[in-house]
């Protein structure tokens, strides 16, 4: 890494320069870094550990933010019903939301991408089985799967939410990968490589994956946001993360009950953070998807 920055014409440096020219992408990366750091260092940054029931006191229930009348330190953004500090809960909640988002997208894109590659590349019965399996799974809504898990296990947890969303999540990656592979497979350079006797594996890794990667990446970036929102939706339906460990989504789901009571900050603060996460992520993904597209003129 140090090398690439030291050498003036290295690809890393070029990449960085191109990146810095894109103001929106830089902005997105900045925000995202901030949120990630906040989530990572939540235990040290947050005035309170909102997941620790011992640190909560209902005496502090529904305090307004510090600038409003009745607001008090250290509850700078106010508190919720249980007396949880909103700022702290946002830091911890972002953590939960990001972990859910990252895990699901990571899991489903790897599995889906791989499965789609196999389906598209080999075709035949393997393709049929994989793609029909995908069709079957998509018929079950995430709501139903999350309900099933709640029935199977004692209580809700982040892990259950991750699993419930992942079960159907891989299908879109598989389908996208597969359709890209189908197109790329027939391109001249792949048929050429085949003609000179390159192995299947080599063709797949060297020619197909890089070319099929760009649409996958766009989907992954958008999916990240969709997953975080799906988690929020599960919380809204009462089948998401545990109430004692709220995510950003659950904060919004609970805050919506106060929207007519004038307690705006309950939905506004976590809402802004959630929006900026997804917003920045997409800004970044926009740039990246153009960057990694091998056919784009640079």
């Amino acid at each position: 890494m140090t090398n690439s920055i030291a050498a003036p014409a290295s690809p890393g440096r070029k990449l960085l320069r191109r990146f810095l020219r894109r103001k929106l992408a830089v902005f997105g990366a900045g925000i995202l870094t901030l949120v990630f750091l906040g989530a990572l260092f939540a235990p040290w940054l947050a005035p309170q550990n909102p997941y620790d029931l011992l640190s909560l006191s209902m005496d502090n229930s529904l305090l307004p933010p510090i600038w409003a009348e009745g607001g008090q330190a250290p509850f700078y953004l106010g508190t919720d019903v249980q007396g949880r500090d909103i700022l702290s809960t946002i830091l911890y909640g972002s953590r939960t939301s990001l972990i859910v988002g990252v895990s699901v997208v990571f899991l489903t894109s790897i599995i889906g991408g791989f499965v789609g590659l196999i389906a598209g590349f080999y075709g035949g019965w393997l393709d049929t089985i994989i793609m029909r399996m995908g069709d079957s799974i998509l018929s079950f809504s995430t709501t139903l799967i999350a309900m099933l898990f709640l029935g199977l296990f004692q209580g809700s947890s982040m892990l259950l939410v991750i699993c419930a969303i992942s079960i159907g999540g891989w299908v879109q990656y598989a389908r996208t990968m597969r359709s890209s592979v189908l197109v790329v497979k027939e391109e001249d350079y792949v048929t050429g490589a085949r003609a000179i006797g390159a192995s299947n594996f080599r063709i797949a890794i060297k020619h197909i994956v890089p070319n099929a990667f760009a649409p996958l990446f766009v989907i992954a970036a958008i999916d990240f946001g969709v997953v975080i929102m799906l988690e929020a939706t599960l919380s809204f339906l009462g089948i998401g993360v545990p109430i004692t460990e709220p995510s950003l989504g659950m904060m919004i789901a609970q805050g919506k009950d106060f929207i007519y009571a004038g307690l705006w900050y309950l939905i506004l603060c976590p809402g802004i953070v959630l929006m900026s996460i997804i917003f920045s992520l997409n800004l970044l993904a926009d740039w990246l998807s153009e960057e990694i597209d091998p056919r784009a003129s640079k």
Partner: protein, 322 residues
Amino acid sequence: MWRYVSKRIMQGMVVLFIVSFFGFIIFQFLGDPAIAMAGQYATQAEIEAIRVSLGLDRSIYIQYFNFITNALQGNFGISYVTRLPALELVLQRLPATIELAIAAQVIAIVFGVLLGVLVAAFPRALLSKFSVVGSLFGISLPTFAVGILLILFFAVEFPIFPPFGRGELITLPWGWETGFLTWDGLKHLVLPALTLGLLQLALLFRLTRSGMQEALRSNYIRTARAKGLSRFPILFKHALRNVMIPVITIIGLQFGQLVGFSIVTEKIFQWPGTGNLLLSAIFDNDFPIVSTYIILIATLIVILNTLVDITYAFLNPRIRYD
């Protein structure tokens, strides 16, 4: 081609069997309908009697076998709550959901694809910059929050649209109740359709845009341009055609998502569609409704996916089917 289509239909049937089976197994863990049916004070023996009368005491395989043999004859069982045929109940609610999904899909396709093409063609226009940022807002808040905020602003603060419900309906000759044909019905449709369509709109917009950008850089478009073809035919005839494959994939796939998210939209707007029915059926242990719904959705998805795959073949003749 016909061999391919018939093969896909066969596969579709297999999918439906698998879906129906797993859909059935799930219920073993979701709750016990007999508890609610027996009433608060029923004894364990009385609950058991109800289980027997519903056939729930038999093994899951026998239950499934009975269900599937009946289903093949069009009988999907009787709702535990209303004692009415499940299929009839789901079909009764279908027009509401389909009209909502159509409205949402139309909003998404028209604005999403159109904006995507225009932004790719004129990246420096002010509209483009607004659309890029705007599309991100569309996917940055959970559906339920968008719906609640829309109600807050456009039904309570500025009472332009009604907050919930489907409004005045007209029954068409074949029994379909439509809200498309009354002013009141259309007014009721605006907020929920926007809520439901926003995510799809943003997705389609971005997909079209990135595809178009790629296409516009490609050699054949450059050649077309060099030959002096005018701008709009190039955009809509040549470039867009190339972009349609991923877009159609997503539109086809989106239907599943539309339905998935329509559950939430329907709940927020108290929309009398299948999503609301499914939600109450899940939470009331009304399993015949849930399985009918799952099979219906699976059928739709299978049909759509088959159509998507067949459309591929037409749009991109280079893909062979054997």
